[in-house]
């Protein structure tokens, strides 16, 4: 049986791992390779490195640390942020990343999803979606969320975009529910369940983890393949070995 994955997300800014609340007020958490090794040792199933400044500033992910991570760790990792072309994706994949995640650039030019899938296979194309519920009750996509002053609310409905990116060649979708992100009151089960209905490819829940119970809940209630979190892991509030023991005891299959 395919195990559910626990995925720490490392927001990278200027070569260090940072964390902010609701995408604001970033503080330094630690070094990239040092944290990658810590999470590998603790039993993380995969890592996501997200260069939160790359997309709004129109610059690319610096490749040096990707290669350093690839040399050191023996679990898969994905790199997100500022990947705008097949060339950008190639650079990151050849440096040793297993997947690339595209978010704002896919909204700028959806064909990019298919171009990367054609060049390297759908398995390495992750589409990240930042989603927030509007006053009319619809979830809609946000763009350039790395910088609050540049964040744009789009008319595109999140669920439509999920259909669209799968048709284009997305091999996995990370749905970041901005309404629950950073406040640790649990994942957005309602939205993730809706997304699951639309999603044939693996779905990764993001935004809202505060307790081990939230992980149990999102796997059981929203049937997601993986759950991503940052601050609860960085702060040590949730230790991955303890989390996995609890999930296993409650019938969720996770890697030992």
């Amino acid at each position: 049986m395919l195990n559910r994955r626990i995925v720490p997300c490392l927001d990278v800014r200027d070569g260090q791992v940072v964390k902010g609340v609701r995408f604001r007020d970033h503080v330094v958490v630690g070094g990239i390779v040092e944290l990658a090794l810590r999470y590998r040792d603790e039993g993380a199933d995969e890592l996501v490195f997200y260069d939160i400044t790359a997309s709004p500033e129109g610059r690319r992910v610096d490749r040096d640390w990707v290669e350093r991570v690839a040399r050191e760790i023996d679990i898969p990792f994905c790199v997100a942020g500022g990947i705008r072309s097949v060339g950008d994706a190639r650079e990151v994949l050849h440096a040793g990343a297993d997947k690339v995640s595209i978010n704002s650039p896919a909204l700028e030019r959806p064909a990019l999803v298919g171009e990367i899938a054609d060049a390297f296979g759908v398995q390495c194309v992750v589409v990240g979606i930042d989603s927030l519920r509007d006053d009319d009750g619809e979830w809609r996509v946000r763009q350039y969320t790395g910088d609050p002053s540049k964040t744009k609310a789009l008319r595109k409905r999140t669920l439509d975009w999920i259909d669209e990116v799968q048709a284009l060649g997305a091999g996995e979708i990370v749905l970041n529910c901005m309404g629950t992100d950073g406040v640790r009151r649990g994942y957005d089960i309602e939205q993730l369940r809706e997304a699951r209905q639309r999603c044939r490819v693996p779905l990764v829940a993001s935004g809202g983890a505060g307790t081990s119970h939230h992980f149990f809940e999102v796997f059981r209630e929203a049937d997601v393949d993986a759950a991503l979190a940052a601050s609860v892991f960085h702060s040590g509030e949730i230790a991955i070995p303890v989390l996995k023991r609890e999930l296993r005891a409650r019938g969720i299959e996770v890697r030992a």
């Binding site: 023996d74 040793g96 297993d98 398995q123 693996p202 393949d225």
Partner: protein, 196 residues
């Protein structure tokens, strides 16, 4: 020991090379026929689709070179699929050294394709490549096409259907998962290959 990684443009070549370095083995990356023939161990990595993968091997003049090898050869992920006779992916003729046809995972309700993540490995037959593999061991998979179970299956995994996680046919072996990204289990299996 002289280990070579066949350079056919796959994107995981770097990762496989680093994994071997972590085991103390510096593998040469090459597409040179003579160097491949002279190696003690040959690894064919690969990520992406079957047709472009075979096209790159043909363009590099390596199809007959690989078919004719007698030393231990390990295909990883797409590399394992390329060892088979054919792949349904792009209806591609492959190297034909493992008697199997690569198929897509069937559309089944609730079955996620690509098969992505950590899945269990069940040993199907004794082989030096699976030494030390324990019940409950998992490896990291990322693929949409699979090699069905057969006499060549060393270990299987379950994703809606039992399929080959590891294969061996004579000196040709394969791992569908990514040993370079499968933590301690992957390192163990790579070490097994290097000790053949």
């Amino acid at each position: 020991m002289r280990v070579v990684l066949v350079d056919a443009g796959g994107t995981n070549i770097g990762s496989v090379r680093y994994a071997l370095q972590r085991l103390g083995t510096d593998a040469e990356l090459t597409s040179d026929a003579a160097r491949i023939r002279a190696a003690t161990h040959v690894i064919l990595p690969g990520v992406g689709a079957a047709a472009p993968g075979m096209r790159r091997l043909r363009e590099a003049g390596l199809v007959d070179v690989l078919r004719g090898l007698t030393q231990p050869v390990l295909g990883v992920c797409l590399g394992m699929q390329l060892l088979c006779e054919r792949s349904e992916e792009g209806d591609t003729e492959c190297l034909g050294v493992v008697p199997a046809t690569v198929r897509r995972f069937d559309d089944m309700p609730g079955l996620r394709v690509p098969h992505m993540g950590w899945n269990g490995l069940s040993r199907e037959r004794e082989h030096p490549l699976t030494t030390g593999l324990d019940e409950g061991d998992t490896a990291y998979f990322v693929h949409s096409y699979m090699v069905p179970s057969g006499d060549y299956t060393l270990a299987s995994s379950d994703h809606g259907v039992l399929f080959s996680a590891m294969v061996a046919s004579g000196n040709f072996m394969g791992m569908q998962f990514h040993p370079e990204r499968s933590a301690g289990v992957g390192a163990r299996l790579l070490r097994n290959f290097l000790s053949l």
